[in-house]
């Protein structure tokens, strides 16, 4: 019996159209726009100004707080402005706009393709390297990795979980990375283990990715402490708490961090970035992005520099199809709908999914018939129908008691509702309100 998490979960159509498309490199765009805040936490502070010449991999914005991350230039060229530009959410954000001239990489970066598997640095040195390179959670959460690696006082890590689940429909970038860069990911895993001071790691992969499982199993063969765990397909298995439950059987309790059960979860993309940062001295300035959609001509997995306009990415995959009604950054379950494709790819962009017009609009909302599907789908054991009603009636204290803050916003409730009720919209609103309430109590 394959492992999986117990509570809830749904099975949206997988639609992994680009699962067999090898990773290809996107030609450089004429200009890039690199936001200084691509992570959870304080935006970085720009250290370049208009007119500066930058090299590929050069630091352009420095981490500005405890939870923050460095940002590097993904291209070489001239800084044309440091200004507010709309990001993927449509909000104006500070970013560095660079006119691309050639592709002159920083001399520190080891550009050779050879695998470097020897680890010479100590744990703290590895963490410092990761911090320098500006690595963040690349599954989409974008939490700075170096912060996560240091456990809170009095707590200890026991094991590392590498997240190769990729449970979002359509997305295949992690799948391809595991197939094509399995050895590098394993070195990255060993580096993270050393940084955490643990000797055990599990790589969780859903069994709809047989080739990735095979390749990763081969790569960990003979390396002690690391094993691959094939998992039964179920959304949202890539959720941190769900993955820990699936692999270890442990449950992170309400409001607690994974470290409370001795675990740390890191995405395969982040593990690969750690390898490049520590072994190759290469900061995080490019990533693999899946560009896909049922009407798109060439659904692909593309290695793309951070800051590249999404429109260039779509153009590369065959251009925006006539029937497109929605462009999603991320997967269809948790991704963000873009207002325009003139926004940059950031560290957290795992995919771009183009949805046909017919499926873009929501169906009209009907009355709740208490079919229990949202309750059965919720991986946190919440009652979405109730939370929505309470939210509609502004009962914030009651919502806090109903543990609304446990919601991981996976969207399984809204997905499964036969009455097309916008459950998660109301729950998100309630989370914001209850969060405010909780914070105001602390002051």
């Amino acid at each position: 019996m394959l492992k999986t998490f117990k509570l809830g979960g749904v099975h949206p159509p997988e639609n992994k159209l680009s699962a067999d498309s090898e990773i290809v490199e996107l030609p450089l765009s004429p200009t890039v726009f690199i936001p200084v805040g691509q992570h959870i936490g304080a935006p970085a502070t720009a250290v370049v100004k208009k007119g500066d010449q930058v090299k590929t991999g050069q630091l352009i914005a420095r981490s500005s707080g405890f939870v923050s991350a460095n940002v590097h230039s993904s291209v070489s060229g001239t800084v044309t402005k440091v200004d507010l530009v709309p990001d993927s959410g449509g909000y104006p954000r500070v970013g560095v706009v660079i006119k691309v001239e050639g592709d002159d990489w920083d001399d520190q970066i080891d550009t050779s393709p050879d695998l470097k598997s020897e680890i010479s640095l100590t744990g703290p040195e590895i963490i410092e390297k990761i911090k320098e390179a500006g690595i963040v959670g690349m599954g989409g959460a974008t939490f700075p990795t170096h912060v996560k690696l240091v456990p809170p006082r009095g707590m200890k890590f026991e094991m590392l979980l590498i997240n190769g689940v990729e449970c979002e429909p359509f997305l295949t970038s992690d799948n391809r990375l595991m197939i094509e860069k399995s050895d590098e990911i394993v070195v990255g895993t060993r580096l993270l283990m050393k940084a955490m001071g643990v000797d055990k790691a599990f790589i969780g992969i859903e069994n709809n990715k047989p080739e990735a499982i095979r390749k990763m199993e081969k790569a960990v063969n003979g390396i002690s402490g690391i094993s691959v765990v094939p998992l039964k397909v179920k959304y949202p298995q890539g959720g941190e708490k769900q993955l820990i439950k699936a692999v270890t059987g442990r449950e992170v309790s309400s409001g607690a961090l994974p470290v409370s059960v001795g675990c740390l979860v890191s995405n395969v993309g982040s593990a690969f970035a750690v390898y490049e940062a520590v072994q190759k001295n290469k900061p995080l300035f490019e990533r693999v992005v899946t560009v896909t959609g049922k009407s798109l001509r060439n659904p692909s997995n593309v290695k793309v520099r951070i800051g590249t306009p999404v429109s260039d990415l779509i153009l590369f995959a065959g251009g925006v199809p006539e029937d497109t009604g929605k462009i999603i950054s991320g997967g269809p379950m948790m991704g963000k709908a873009l207002a325009t494709s003139d926004v940059p790819v950031t560290k957290g962009t795992s995919g771009i999914v183009l949805i046909p017009e017919k499926q873009a609009a929501r169906k009209p909302q009907l009355a709740c018939i208490r079919c229990s599907r949202c309750t059965n789908a919720c991986p946190m054991g919440l009652e979405p129908f109730l939370l929505m009603t309470l939210s509609e009636n502004s009962l914030w204290e009651r919502l806090e008691k109903e543990m609304v803050l446990d919601c991981i916003e996976c969207g399984s409730c809204s997905f499964s509702c036969p009455a097309s009720r916008p459950l998660l919209d109301y729950i998100r609103y309630a989370k914001a309100k209850v969060g405010q309430l909780v914070r105001s109590r602390k002051h």
Partner: protein, 328 residues
């Protein structure tokens, strides 16, 4: 690209299931039993069914359109389902005006006055049925004979009616058993009864389909029928002279129809598995208490309606198991 894109929060993908599909699947599950009742009762069954379904749909449309002045929801299939279930709960020779009154009561009072689908506390079809049973006891308990029965009689009693009448007059069970249908006839529906009561086998078939389509859960029907069997079984073991065996109780009357199609109504039944078990056990106990000790021969309708009333309480008391071990 100059076209405007749709913006909405995630998720961007949704199930292709809908309230309408759920309702139509339940209707579909009832079709075999409906066909059997037409074979059994002839065109009278068609008359009652059409009248009940069409009048429920019409009442819902007219009230929503002209009284409530809201968008009508007749196409969601729930009014048609109420009509069909009401038809299944009445004798096939019921006068047309009584059927219309039942439909009106079900739709106007039990459903729309509570806010329509999703707002009602009690199962509308059952409310309609019980309203008729109390208001027109004679017409509601005069059961026509099957077209296939080799008898000159025009009406027949239901098996539970025969049993109740016998027990009340103090006759031992043995004397009655000649008049009672056997298990094979109960399964096939060779007995007196309302439209939908008469074929346990076909009702179970539809129930399996609903289970497969995940429209009903096993908890409600199984807990109802098992509780009834245990309750009836205890009395049968103590005094088989006076009390009939549990299988008879399950197959006769409206137990199967109630357990699979009426008690499982999503709107009026509890949501978590555990609460559904308690709800089902409650229905089983009340049903058997009425059957064995009450004035009415049959108690499923009353039992379901009473437990419908407990549903909000069960929902708020029994929460699903939370992730992480903490319960609210």
């Amino acid at each position: 690209m100059n076209k405007l894109l749709t913006i909405s929060p995630s998720p961007h993908q949704h199930t292709d299931d809908s309230v309408r599909k759920i309702m139509y699947r339940v209707l579909l599950a009832l079709v075999p039993a409906l066909i059997w009742s037409v074979i059994y009762f002839g065109m009278d069954a068609v008359r009652v069914t059409l009248l009940a379904v069409l009048s429920c749909v019409a009442f819902e449309y007219l009230i929503q359109r002209f009284v409530m002045k809201v968008q009508t929801t007749v196409t969601d299939g729930s009014a048609a389902l109420t009509g069909l279930l009401l038809a299944f709960n009445v004798p096939s020779n019921l006068p047309w005006w009584i059927i219309l009154m039942g439909s009106f009561f079900a739709i106007a009072i039990a459903k729309l006055s509570f806010g329509g689908l999703g707002g009602n506390i009690f199962n509308p079809a059952l409310v309609g049925r019980v309203f008729l049973l109390i208001s027109f006891p004679a017409q509601m308990t005069t059961w026509p004979v099957s077209r296939m029965a080799e008898t000159d009689a025009v009406t027949a009693a239901t098996p539970l009616g025969i049993l109740k009448g016998g027990v009340l007059s103090g006759r031992p069970l043995q004397e009655l058993s000649g008049n009672l249908p056997g298990i094979d006839n109960l399964l096939l529906g060779n007995m007196g009864g309302s439209l939908g009561e008469i074929s346990a086998a076909l009702l179970i078939l539809g129930g399996i389909y609903l289970l497969w389509k995940k429209i009903i859960t096993w908890q409600i029907p199984v807990s109802i029928l098992l509780t009834m069997a245990v309750y009836a079984g205890i009395f049968w073991l103590i005094n088989p002279e006076k009390y009939i065996d549990p299988l008879f109780h399950i197959l006769a009357g409206g137990a199967i129809l109630g357990a699979i199609y009426m008690a499982t109504d999503m709107v009026t039944s509890p949501m978590t598995g555990k609460a559904q078990l308690i709800y089902g056990i409650g229905i089983g106990i009340i049903t058997m208490t009425i059957r064995l000790f009450g004035a009415y021969p049959e108690g499923v309708s009353f039992a379901i309606l009473i437990m419908n009333g407990f549903t909000p309480l069960l929902n708020s008391m029994i929460k699903p198991k939370r992730f992480g071990g903490k319960q609210p």
